[in-house]
C-alpha cells in the first residue's frame, strides 16, 4: 500500500517543517488546535492505536501542567480569578497557557509522527545531498551502534561467570573496554574493505533509492502554496488584557482553512489510501 511515508524525503521534510514552524510562530489557539488534531489523528493511523491513546494521557497531563503553570508566572489579564499573595491569577493567562500547551503537545506529536515516517534511510538521503561522506558516516554509525550494544551485552553475559568477587560496575567497565577493543579490531577489517572498494577515490557520490516523482512535485507544491496562503492571511489573536478573537473576515477564514488543510493532509492521505486499497480489493 502506498502510504504517506513513501513520499520523497524532501516532500516529507517540507511538510513537517511547514506545519511545525507555522504553528510555533503563529501562536494562536485555532492554529494550535488544528495542528494538534491533525497530528493526533495522523499518529493514530500510522502508529499502534493503543500506544497512541495511552501516550495521550501523558501528553494531556503535560498540556494541563503548562496551562496551569503559565498563570502562576504571568499575571497579565483583566479577568482576575483569585489572588495568591499580591499576584493575580487570570483567566487570560490560563487561556494563553492552554494555547501554549496545545502548541507544545502538537509539536511533540508531529515529532513523534516524523520519527515514525522519516526513518534512517531518509535522513541518509538528506545527508547525502549535503555531503556523500557525511551520509556514509551516518550509515556506518547506524550499523555500528546497535552492533556495539549487542556485543557489549554478550561480553557482559560471558563475564558474569568470572566476577563473583568483583563488583557489577567493575564488570561493566572491563566489558566495555573489551568491546571497544574488539570493535577497533573489526574496524581494521572494515577500513580494509572500504579501501578495497575505492573509499579513497576523490569524487564520491551518494546513492539513494528515492525518486522524486510527479506526485511528490504535486504534493510539495500543494504544501508550499497552502503554507504561503496561510502565512499571508494570519489571524491575529490578542490575549491581554482581555482576549479578543480575530474577526472572521474572508482573509482570516482563508488563512485558517489553508492551515487546517495543511495539518490534515497527512491524516487524510493515509485514510484515503487505505480506502482506495480496500476498494481495489473488492474489485478483484
Amino acid at each position: 500500500m502506498n502510504t504517506f511515508r513513501n513520499l520523497h524525503p524532501v516532500t516529507l521534510l517540507c511538510c513537517f517543517l511547514y506545519i511545525t514552524v507555522f504553528s510555533v510562530f503563529n501562536f494562536n489557539p485555532i492554529y494550535s488546535g488544528l495542528s494538534l488534531c491533525g497530528a493526533f489523528l495522523f499518529a493514530l493511523v500510522i502508529q499502534d492505536k493503543k500506544a497512541v491513546l495511552r501516550s495521550f494521557i501523558g501528553y494531556f497531563i503535560l498540556l494541563i501542567l503548562i496551562a496551569v503553570t503559565n498563570p502562576l508566572f504571568s499575571h497579565n489579564g483583566a479577568t482576575a480569578l483569585f489572588f495568591i499573595n499580591d499576584n493575580r491569577i487570570t483567566l487570560e493567562a490560563f487561556i494563553y497557557g492552554v494555547t501554549l500547551g496545545m502548541a507544545v503537545v502538537s509539536v511533540l506529536y508531529w515529532f513523534r509522527c516524523f520519527n515514525e515516517v522519516f526513518d534512517s534511510e531518509k535522513y541518509l538521503y538528506v545527508f547525502g545531498r549535503v555531503s556523500p561522506k557525511l551520509a556514509l558516516v551516518f550509515s556506518m554509525t547506524l550499523r555500528f551502534v546497535p552492533e556495539l550494544i549487542g556485543s557489549f551485552k554478550s561480553v557482559n553475559a560471558s563475564q558474569k561467570r568470572f566476577d563473583k568477587s568483583r563488583g557489577r560496575l567493575r564488570r561493566y567497565l572491563s566489558s566495555f573496554s573489551a568491546v571497544i577493543g574488539q570493535s577497533l579490531e573489526d574496524a581494521v577489517i572494515t577500513s580494509d574493505s572500504m579501501n578495497a572498494r575505492g573509499f579513497n577515490l576523490k569524487k564520491r557520490t551518494s546513492f539513494s533509492r528515492f525518486r522524486f516523482t510527479f506526485y511528490d512535485a504535486v504534493y510539495l507544491t500543494v504544501f508550499t502554496v497552502l503554507t504561503a496562503v496561510a502565512a499571508f492571511n494570519t489571524a491575529s489573536f490578542e490575549y491581554y488584557p482581555t482576549f479578543c478573537p480575530p474577526e472572521l473576515d474572508l482573509r482570516t477564514v482563508i488563512g485558517i482553512i489553508s492551515f487546517g488543510a495543511l495539518a490534515f493532509i497527512p491524516f487524510v492521505y493515509e485514510i484515503s489510501e487505505e480506502i482506495r486499497w480496500k476498494l481495489s480489493l473488492s474489485k478483484i
Binding site: N76, A80, F83, R88
Partner: protein, 161 residues
C-alpha cells in the same frame, strides 16, 4: 506512585507560605489608618505617544494618590497599596529587596520596543536600586513613569554602568 506523592509534596510546600484570596476579598481589604503618608502616581505618557493607533489614550493611570505607610515599608509596598485600592492590575518579578515591576495596568516592559519599561522616581530623583530597597519617608512623592528609551524620555538618561 512515589514520584507522584513527591510531586504533590513539593507543590504543597511551594504554596504553603501563600495566601489565596478571591478577587473580591483581595480588593475588599482596606489599609489600616496611619499618620505617615506618601503620594503615588503612575504615568505612561511616553507609551501613549509611542502607540499611535490609539491603543492607549489616557497617560494618567493613577494621579497623585495618597497612601499611608508604616515604618520600614518600601516604594514597592506603597505602589502595591495604591494599585490595590484602585483595582489596577500589576505584575512583578522577584522578592525581598530586588523586586522588579514588569507591568502596570496591562502595560508591560518591552511593549513599546526593546528599551521600554517602568521606572520610578522619589521626589524627582531616580534611585539606582530596586523599588523594594527604597524605604519610604513621610511626604515622599513617588512617580512611576513608563519609558520607551531607557529613561531618556522621562529625564533619567542612562549613563551606563
Amino acid at each position: 506512585m512515589k514520584k507522584l506523592s513527591a510531586l504533590i509534596l513539593i507543590i504543597v510546600l511551594l504554596f504553603a507560605g501563600c495566601s489565596v484570596k478571591s478577587a473580591e476579598d483581595y480588593y475588599g481589604e482596606t489599609q489600616k489608618p496611619s499618620d505617615k503618608k506618601v503620594t503615588v502616581s503612575v504615568n505612561c505618557r511616553t507609551a501613549v505617544e509611542y502607540l499611535k493607533d490609539g491603543e492607549r489614550v489616557n497617560p494618567d493611570i493613577l494621579k497623585d494618590y495618597e497612601v499611608g505607610f508604616k515604618n520600614g515599608e518600601t516604594v514597592f509596598d506603597a505602589l502595591k497599596t495604591a494599585l490595590k485600592e484602585n483595582r489596577i492590575q500589576f505584575d512583578y518579578n522577584g522578592s525581598g529587596d530586588s523586586v522588579y515591576i514588569r507591568g502596570i495596568d496591562y502595560l508591560y516592559e518591552f511593549d513599546c520596543g526593546d528599551t521600554s519599561g517602568w521606572e520610578f522616581s522619589v521626589n524627582g530623583k531616580f534611585p539606582s536600586v530596586g523599588c523594594s530597597a527604597v524605604k519610604l519617608n513621610d511626604g515622599d512623592k513617588i512617580s512611576w513613569l513608563y519609558t520607551c528609551d531607557l529613561g531618556a524620555d522621562i529625564g533619567n538618561k542612562y549613563k551606563g554602568n
